[in-house]
């Protein structure tokens, strides 16, 4: 079974895609060169721009893997994960990952001991276990994200944690790094809960309050940054059912929402809640106002913390919020071509379940809906790297090396996206990012990077070109690599007795190939 997917061009015949533009451009340029060389004629513009539309999806290329569900629910197919899927079947595999609390994973727990900052509160990192701050905390947090993505058995939990960390992005350079561990633990613990609960917990975090400047939003000294992004990015969508006036009401309602001991000197603090969320009634402007409408039910009455709570309640299950979340989840798990109809029915599921994340995921990922709606996706750099490591059973011996030699050039280090919209999630945003991927894929296969060690020979039955290609197909591509791709990899070795170096180069090419960029 090869899950090739219909071209989005076919389903949307009028869409003027980048692909078409590119082909037109190629034609235009080659005819230009021809004309200049042969006839010395003048240049005419190759394309017309009218009708240019945001292209979606990535055209006609088929998903290589035979296990698209496994690909989407994890950070990359491995031979073990495929075995698990085969033993359980679609529905049971989905339910297994939807209950991460039942998955015991001692190996991961042990490995995470290397990164003690991740388990601590700000106070513990700063005062109890010595003076762990700044880069120490960032290093542990980024390392744990890498290790969890690569090795956690509860993969869907990690995928969803990444999803919410994008949705509720914070930038580590813009906050006190000591606030990160609590923030990420909050998100991971609620990644499969319900949206209203998650939203409330995220807003009531020192990290988000600091990142979007709400820790300084106090009566008489308003700061709109958080209130604006709360509506634009976290819930309703840009100008989707709110006005500038609503932003002014919201920013006033959130005055005094801040973090503990904001002005304390860290050297002297003994406050065990340092850096955690705190509401300061004295800094709150208790004036009310109409929010998202002018009916009596739209009125936020005079009050304290309940004003902000009221705003969150109005936002969390708003139909526009449902649409925002449904759109993003469908895009992440199904692709960039999901129909408006399916997004709407997903949003309806979100609303009828009161934002229950598992219910929405079940709706998107059940066999019928998934197969009817998914299309190929281009891996983002972090996924590309982690899936290379997972497929190769690579041993991460130095997370710092992975962070700085691999993820930094790939431009997707954890917590390093500055603006509040999170790392982009589209094909066109990342497609020009091939060169660092080739360096990473080849480097991993060839053992050029100290931080990741691979030994493909453990998984090969022999070292003939045929054995090598069999290994690549089975381990890297879940058995779905096309015959022509297999043949071209085999041809690269040019000999029946390839050296180990040649074998590693061939695997490096497989990891650098267009097939492996997709999932």
């Amino acid at each position: 079974m090869n899950n090739s997917v219909k071209s989005p061009q076919k389903s949307k015949p009028n869409a003027f895609s980048r692909r078409v533009l590119m082909q037109a451009g190629v034609l235009g340029l080659s005819s230009l060169e021809l004309s200049r060389r042969a006839f010395g004629q003048t240049f005419s513009p190759p394309t017309e721009i009218e009708g240019e539309r945001e292209p979606s999806g990535i055209g006609t290329r088929a998903v290589v893997s035979q296990y698209p569900l496994v690909d989407r629910m994890t950070f990359g197919t491995t031979y073990d994960e495929v075995t698990l899927y085969n033993s359980k079947g679609w529905a049971a595999y989905l339910e297994y990952h939807l209950a991460p609390e039942k998955i015991s994973d001692n190996a991961l727990t042990n490995r995470l001991q290397e990164f003690p900052c991740t388990a601590c509160t700000p106070y513990q990192n700063l005062r109890v276990y010595g003076w762990r701050t700044g880069y120490d905390v960032y290093y542990d947090m980024a390392s744990a994200q890498i290790v969890r993505a690569a090795y956690a058995k509860a993969q869907l939990l990690e995928v969803m944690t990444e999803f919410w960390l994008d949705h509720f992005n914070v930038f580590n350079n813009a906050i006190s790094n000591e606030l990160l561990p609590t923030y990420v633990r909050t998100i991971r613990s609620l990644a499969l809960s319900d949206f209203p609960t998650l939203l409330r917990a995220v807003v009531k975090s020192g990290a988000m309050m600091q990142y979007l400047d709400n820790d300084r939003n106090i009566t008489g000294q308003h700061n709109e940054n958080f209130a604006r992004e709360l509506m634009e990015l976290h819930t309703l969508g840009v100008y989707n059912g709110y006005s500038e006036t609503d932003i002014y009401v919201a920013r006033r309602c959130f005055t005094g929402w801040s973090r503990e001991a904001i002005d304390d000197n860290m050297d002297t603090t003994t406050n065990k809640n340092w850096g955690l969320f705190k509401f300061y009634p004295d800094c709150h402007d208790n004036e009310g106002g109409y929010f998202l409408g002018t009916k009596s039910t739209d009125l936020i009455v005079k009050g304290g913390i309940e004003q902000g709570e009221g705003i969150l309640t109005k936002l969390a299950l708003n139909p526009n919020t449902a649409n925002t979340i449904a759109t993003k989840l469908c895009q992440r798990f199904l692709g960039e071509n999901v129909s408006a109809t399916f997004i709407q029915s997903t949003a309806n599921t979100f609303l009828t379940s009161n934002g229950d994340i598992k219910t929405v995921l079940r709706y998107i990922l059940n066999e019928t809906n998934f197969k009817a709606n998914y299309s190929p996706r281009f891996k983002r750099p972090f996924r590309y790297l982690i899936s290379s490591i997972r497929a190769s059973y690579g041993n991460i011996v130095d997370t710092g090396d992975v962070l700085w030699w691999l993820l930094q050039p790939l431009r997707q280090q954890p917590f390093q996206w500055g603006p509040p919209n999170g790392y982009p999630d589209t094909y066109l945003a990342w497609v020009d990012n091939l060169l660092p991927r080739w360096k990473a894929g080849m480097g991993i296969a060839q053992n050029n990077f100290w931080g990741v060690r691979t030994n493909p020979f453990l998984y090969m039955t022999g070292r003939t070109p045929a054995n090598v290609v069999t290994y690549i197909n089975k381990y890297l591509f879940g058995g779905g690599l096309s015959a022509s791709s297999q043949a071209s990899l085999q041809a690269y070795m040019k000999t029946n007795t390839p050296t180990n170096a040649q074998i590693r180069e061939t695997i490096g090419l497989a990891l650098s190939s267009p097939d492996f960029m997709m999932y």
Binding site: R18, R19, L21, Q23, G25, V26, L29, E33, R36, R37, P45, E48, E52, R53, E54, I58, G59, T60, R61, D213, R216, N217, G220, Q221, N223, E224, N225, R228, E232, V238, E244, D398, G400, D401, W404, R411, P419, P424, Y427, L428, A429, D432, N433, L434, L435, W438, K439, M442, G443, N448, W450, G451, S488, Y492, E505, G508, L509, S513, P514, M517
Partner: protein, 481 residues
């Protein structure tokens, strides 16, 4: 940023040693810009003094345009304070730049035209303003009212207020004219991790982050074979990916040719220069430029090398992020260890902008041609931001998302030495309904003129900026014809 220095990997050490050796070897004979004169090109009549250098062109051909995007919404009331506007001081308290006559050495303006000024941090650009090579515009930007960074950036980069259109205006320009150098490998480069919208949708473009460390890992003897295999494999991929792969391979070869690690800026040019301050005992200390604004200087240095190489690059885009100063925008002044004053950390942003632009100008201006012109006669720099900020400060000595802002243009083809503005007083209509600085000049009044006069593509105005037409009153005289 901390970079691990203790990797025990032998391949890395070899790689580093190799590149260090090649850098040394090249330095000994100085970095030579590559020139590949194509037979199709007119034979050069104007030669760079000292040989090598940029491909000479007739004066009727297009400028190389460097676009710089200050992401986050740069505050025009700090970058170009209207210190003489009667109401400016009423709105700006902590972030106010004082009149030039003030005794506050850190916060007094450098006067430009007895109305507008520059903050002290931008002093490195003053001489270019005086020599009429720097033009500033004010109350400029998109007429669209959005306060969303992401929408506003998108609109400004695609050149029209549309979320459906996605090809950048610079990409549309490249798509609508023949390359200036027919055998150019790359026509546009973004020094950025991601391809910015402004260049998206054009062929022969690449997004690059690091010009120094581009080689593929592993056995150098098999690099050509591996690239050959990849080229073939990607030839059947989806068009955008296939195009990206082609550009990646070309970029590798191009960077090999340019040999950027050996690049030496012109004599006396320092990117990311330290900033001097005087201690109480009279001695001068140099503070290194803060790490978070250094990328901009590195990018401009790379830009200079790409242009001097003469490989046919027509546009370079540089992102300079971090301008969303919702708080503490006012920290103009910091302290040395002994309590004497130096520049505060918020000033590192305008300082990096000004000092590195000045370094870039000097670097290219040092490449002289036999007719007396320099590379800066062929290059125009554009500085823009998605919007300006609120006129009134918020409660945190910062400013929220506003509307109008400033643009800057640098080069010898710019009618510099002036601030172009249809200034509306802050006491009257200079503030829009949501508190932002008013926008009185559409950014395309300047980009359209740039397109016509410096990119020689005015006939495609409606293609490059869909829906935009030349104002009935004409352009604003920002550029030389």
């Amino acid at each position: 940023m901390r970079i691990p220095t203790d990797t025990g990997c032998s391949e890395y050490q070899q790689m580093n040693r190799r590149s260090a050796l090649s850098a040394l070897g090249a330095m000994a004979s100085s970095w030579i810009p590559q020139v590949n004169y194509s037979e199709e090109e007119p034979q050069p009549s104007i030669k760079p003094v000292g040989g090598g250098g940029i491909l000479p062109r007739a004066t009727t051909t297009r400028d190389i345009v460097v676009t710089i995007f200050l992401r986050g919404g740069a505050d025009g009331l700090v970058l170009c304070p209207p210190w003489k506007d009667n109401d400016y001081a009423n709105y700006r308290r902590g972030t106010r730049i004082f009149p030039p006559t003030s005794s506050d050495a850190f916060r007094k303006a450098i006067d430009l035209n007895n109305f507008f000024g520059m903050p002290q941090a931008m002093a490195p650009l003053k001489s270019l303003y005086t020599s009429k090579n720097l033009l500033i515009t004010h109350q400029t930007g998109s007429m669209n009212d959005t306060r969303s960074h992401f929408d506003a950036q998108h609109f400004m980069e695609v050149g029209t207020d549309s979320k459906q259109l996605w090809v950048g205006w610079m990409a549309r320009h490249l798509n609508s004219v023949a390359p200036t150098k027919s055998d150019a490998v790359l026509r546009g480069v973004a020094l950025s991790g991601l391809m910015p919208q402004i260049l998206d949708g054009a062929l022969q473009t690449a997004a690059l982050t690091d010009l120094t460390n581009y080689a593929l890992p592993g056995d150098s003897a098999t690099v050509a074979n591996r690239l050959g295999w990849l080229t073939k494999a990607y030839s059947t991929a989806e068009a955008s990916m296939s195009n990206a792969a082609t550009n990646a391979v070309k970029t590798l070869n191009l960077l090999q040719t340019i040999n950027y690690p050996a690049y030496q800026p012109a004599t006396g040019v320092v990117y990311n220069p330290p900033i001097a301050s005087t201690l109480a005992n009279g001695s001068v200390v140099n503070s290194d430029m803060a790490w978070h604004v250094r990328d901009f200087g590195e990018s401009l240095k790379s830009t200079a090398a790409l242009i001097k190489s003469g490989v046919g690059i027509e546009t370079v885009h540089v992102d300079f992020g971090g301008w969303d100063f919702h708080r503490d925008e006012w920290v103009f002044e910091g302290r040395n260890g002994d309590g004497t004053a130096n520049f505060g950390w918020r000033f590192w942003f305008p300082y990096s902008l000004a000092a590195n632009l000045a370094a870039f100008y000097k670097d290219l201006d040092a490449t002289k041609f036999s007719d007396g012109t320099t590379l800066m006669n062929r290059v125009t720099v554009v500085v823009m931001s998605e919007f300006g900020r609120t006129v009134n400060e918020n409660g945190n000595y910062g400013t929220d998302h506003g509307h109008g802002g400033t643009m800057m243009f640098l080069g010898k083809n710019v009618n510099g030495g002036q601030v172009i503005a249809d200034w509306k007083s802050l006491g009257t209509t200079g503030i829009d309904v949501f508190g932002g600085l008013a926008t009185t000049l559409d950014y395309r009044i300047f980009l359209g003129e740039l397109l016509e006069k410096r990119l020689l593509n005015g006939g495609q105005l409606g293609t490059v900026f869909p829906g935009y037409t030349k104002p009935a009153s004409g352009w604003r005289g920002a550029f030389k014809a």
